[in-house]
Symmetry: C2
């Protein structure tokens, strides 16, 4: 007998995050921060030991990461960390640009100062981390900055999609971060964006958004070609 779930109770979710999601995030973090290299195998039992859980949740997590495009799963053989070809990177960045520009176009102006202040706070963190060479904090403060910025657009679907595509290429940012001038340029971009927000100058914000997306894929592609040659059209991995 199936018992109904009462409509009134649905919205109050107990807010406890499923274990599989947490594991997926941890593995994802490892991948995008370069702690796990492309082509490295992800063996279910090893991950169980590592995260103190059972294979069911690990399988769920790997399944999700496959859908996200971060790992490749081969039937009966297992999962491995997936790298991105220059072609894929270019395509993802093209779509990101379209969506992020859309987001800043529809942000309702003027923006509530409390959000601008939040951005400034994050930007201070970011700058301090850059100065200290703390790449982990650089990564996370940068992440939060963009989440707050695009969150201003108010379209939940758009925010979610931007997030989705950003996740796919988290890993390649480290290539640009290797050059101090890239980090500094990103820092200045952020400051200019805040100024544009304050002044409700939408066109400036759009231009900055476009410019901000350029260096990372370029650095990645250059590094890739130095390593593997100019094999743009090679299949993924």
């Amino acid at each position: 007998m199936v018992r109904p779930i009462k409509p009134g109770q649905t919205p109050v979710s107990p807010a406890r995050e499923p274990v599989a999601i947490v594991i997926a995030k941890r593995i994802e973090e490892d991948i995008v921060l370069g702690r796990r290299q492309p082509r490295e195998r992800l063996v279910e039992q090893d991950l169980c030991d590592l995260f103190q859980t059972h294979r069911g949740d690990v399988r769920l997590a790997l399944f999700e990461l496959e859908k996200k495009g971060l790992v490749e799963r081969i039937p009966n053989r297992g999962a491995l960390v997936r790298g991105l070809t220059p072609l894929e990177v270019r395509e993802i960045y093209a779509v990101r640009e379209e969506l992020e520009v859309m987001a800043v176009r529809i942000i309702p102006f003027p923006v509530d100062p409390k959000y601008v202040e939040r951005l400034e706070e994050l930007q201070r963190q970011h700058t301090a981390a850059v100065a200290a060479g703390d790449l982990l904090t650089v990564f996370y403060s940068n992440l939060s900055f963009h989440q707050v910025l695009f969150g201003l657009c108010g379209n939940a679907c758009l925010i979610e999609t931007i997030e989705l595509l950003a996740q796919k290429v988290y890993g390649i940012r480290s290539y640009a971060n290797a050059f101090p001038e890239s980090l500094d340029r990103a820092r200045r971009d952020h400051l200019d964006m805040i100024k544009a927000l304050r002044g409700s100058r939408r066109d400036d914000l759009v231009a900055l958004t476009r410019r901000h997306l350029k260096p990372s894929p370029e650095a990645y592609i250059k590094a890739y070609e130095r390593r593997f040659g100019k094999a743009d059209l090679a299949p993924a991995q």
Copy 2:
């Protein structure tokens, strides 16, 4: 001991689709075609019996459908079919318009006639199905039409993202399909799109793409408001 997977063998995947994916697709189809109503419960064991498999795969499938936004999963209570609020629908369609317009903007012209012929073939199917009142075939031929059309853009990430968002709102098309004039209008839109493709008239194609996306959300929102009142800002479900 973990044994490496040789690089050379990776691309040749055995092409056998994981069971969980197949099940997810079947359930998705049931939902979007209205065979399962919003708020209906999806009990794991029932689905196991139905699809002749074990709970592991079913859980995987439900997990994926949750990520896609088609079902809601409440910890320790199970999964249920999720409906969409008018706000969500509007937001999704806004992003769809942006992406689909981007796609037709970057289609390399002129288009190889063989693809145009494929579109015409699908359109004949669609027209016949509309005339016969065969809504299932209407659905699938329409689906293929758009897949082929946007597939022309050549950006795999863009194609995938368009597909993702289209899936989220498959279900609501039935609302527009209830009105014969909507079906007829969609049919004429498709024919005009084919003509624009043949003539490499990009601006026409862009305008048609925008227009083509209007009726479905409007019909859904009207139906929703007739049923629940104008509660736009209500939380999901």
